[in-house]
Symmetry: C2
Subunit: 210 residues, 2 copies
C-alpha cells in the first residue's frame, strides 16, 4: 500500500494522532487535493521497512509530493502547504507576527505535545493506569495549558485576530486533552478557543461542551 503509484500529494498518517490530523485539516482548509494513507503507530506501521525507508525517524505524518519527494514533521508540512497553496491565508504577512506563529509552533512541539499527547497515548492506546504514568506529564501538561490560558484570556487566537497555523498546531492535542486526563473546565479561555478553532476548521467537537 505504501508503494502504490503516486499521482497526487499524499499524506501518510494515523487518525489517532493529532500531529497527523493537523496535516489533513490544513489541506482541507486550503482545498488541497490529496490521498490519505493510514499508517498505524500502535500496530507498528511506522517501524516497517517500507516506512522507515521513507522516513528513517519512524514518525508520522509524512507528506509525499507527486514527484516522490518526502517531507516529515507535522508543523513543517502544514507550513509548506500554507506557503505553497494558501498565499497569506493561515500565515501572517507581517514578519514579526509570522515569527510569533513559528514561536508557538516550536513551543507546541517542545512544551505541549510531549506532555499532553504522550499522557493521552499512555491512557488511551497503551492502556496504562494513571499511577503507572510519569507524574511530570500531568504537571507539565497543566503548566502548558496554563500558559495558553494566560494568552487566550486576552486574545481570541494565538497570533493576530484570526486563525493561523499556530492555532491548528496547538488545537490538535488540546481538543482531546481530556483523553489525557486534563480538565479543560479549569482553563475556560482555552476551552472557548478550542470551540472557535473547531468551528473555523469545520471539524466536530471532540467532547461535549460542559
Amino acid at each position: 500500500m505504501l508503494n502504490r503509484p503516486i499521482t497526487k500529494l499524499t499524506l501518510y498518517g494515523d487518525q489517532i494522532s493529532g500531529n497527523c490530523l493537523k496535516t489533513r485539516w490544513t489541506a482541507d482548509y486550503l482545498d488541497i487535493d490529496y490521498d490519505w494513507i493510514d499508517v498505524s503507530v500502535v500496530e507498528g506501521g511506522t517501524r516497517s521497512d517500507d516506512f522507515m525507508a521513507m522516513n528513517p525517524s519512524g514518525q508520522v505524518p509524512v507528506m509525499r509530493l507527486p514527484d516522490g519527494r518526502i517531507l516529515p514533521q507535522s508543523n513543517a508540512i502544514i507550513l509548506y502547504l500554507a506557503e505553497t497553496a494558501g498565499g497569506d491565508d493561515l500565515i501572517p504577512s507581517d514578519p514579526f507576527k509570522r515569527a510569533q506563529m513559528m514561536s508557538w509552533m516550536f513551543w507546541e512541539q517542545y512544551s505541549h505535545e510531549p506532555y499532553i499527547a504522550v499522557r493521552r497515548f499512555r491512557l488511551m492506546f497503551q492502556n496504562m493506569a494513571e499511577d503507572e504514568i510519569e507524574p511530570q506529564l500531568l504537571s507539565r501538561g497543566r503548566r502548558a495549558l496554563g500558559v495558553m490560558e494566560l494568552h487566550l484570556t486576552l486574545n481570541e487566537y494565538f497570533v493576530g485576530s484570526s486563525l493561523t497555523l499556530a492555532d491548528i498546531a496547538l488545537v490538535a492535542y488540546t481538543r482531546v486533552a481530556h483523553e489525557g486526563g486534563f480538565d479543560l473546565s479549569e482553563f475556560p479561555s482555552v476551552h472557548r478557543w478550542v470551540a472557535r478553532v473547531e468551528t473555523d476548521l469545520g471539524i466536530g467537537h471532540a467532547r461535549k461542551v460542559a
Copy 2:
C-alpha cells in the same frame, strides 16, 4: 539588569545552553548588533518574576526588539534574524528546501534536544550519576545521532550544499554530545559535519578531534 533601557536588539540567554548559543551564533554570522544578557537556568533566573513577565513559559532564549516586542523559542528567533537580516543567507530560497530546513528544525526540538541536551544537563549541571538518569535518554539520543549519521553519510549539510539554520539548530547540542555521554566516534559523518559547521560559524571546537 533585565529592566535596563533597551536601545538595540537584546538576546537573553544562558551560555551553557545550546539553544541560547544558536541565537548568538546566528546574530554573529549575520553581523547583527545585539546586547547579550545572561540569565542563569541553574540559578533560577528563568523563574524570576521579571523573567516570567517577559516569557511566561520560563524558558531561554528570548529575543527583545528595541521597541520592546518579545520573541521566545530558539529556532523561531534564528529564523526571524535570518529572514529580516540575511536575505537568502542561511535560508534556502527554494520552497521545498526551506520546508526541509524547517522539518529538521522541528525534528531537532522534538527528537534530538529532549534526549541529548537533557542527558547533558543531568550529568553536567544536575550532577546526576549515569544510573540515576532515565535510560531512554541514552537510547533515544543514540537513535537521533543514527538518523543524523544516515543523512550525513551522503550529504555535507542537512539541506543543500551549504550552511542553513538546520545545521545551526542541530549542531548546538551535537557538538557537546560527549558531555551527555554520547560518543561521536561511533558517528563519524556527524563528527566531521560538526567540525565543518564550527568552521563555518567561526566557533571553537568543543572537543579535541580524535
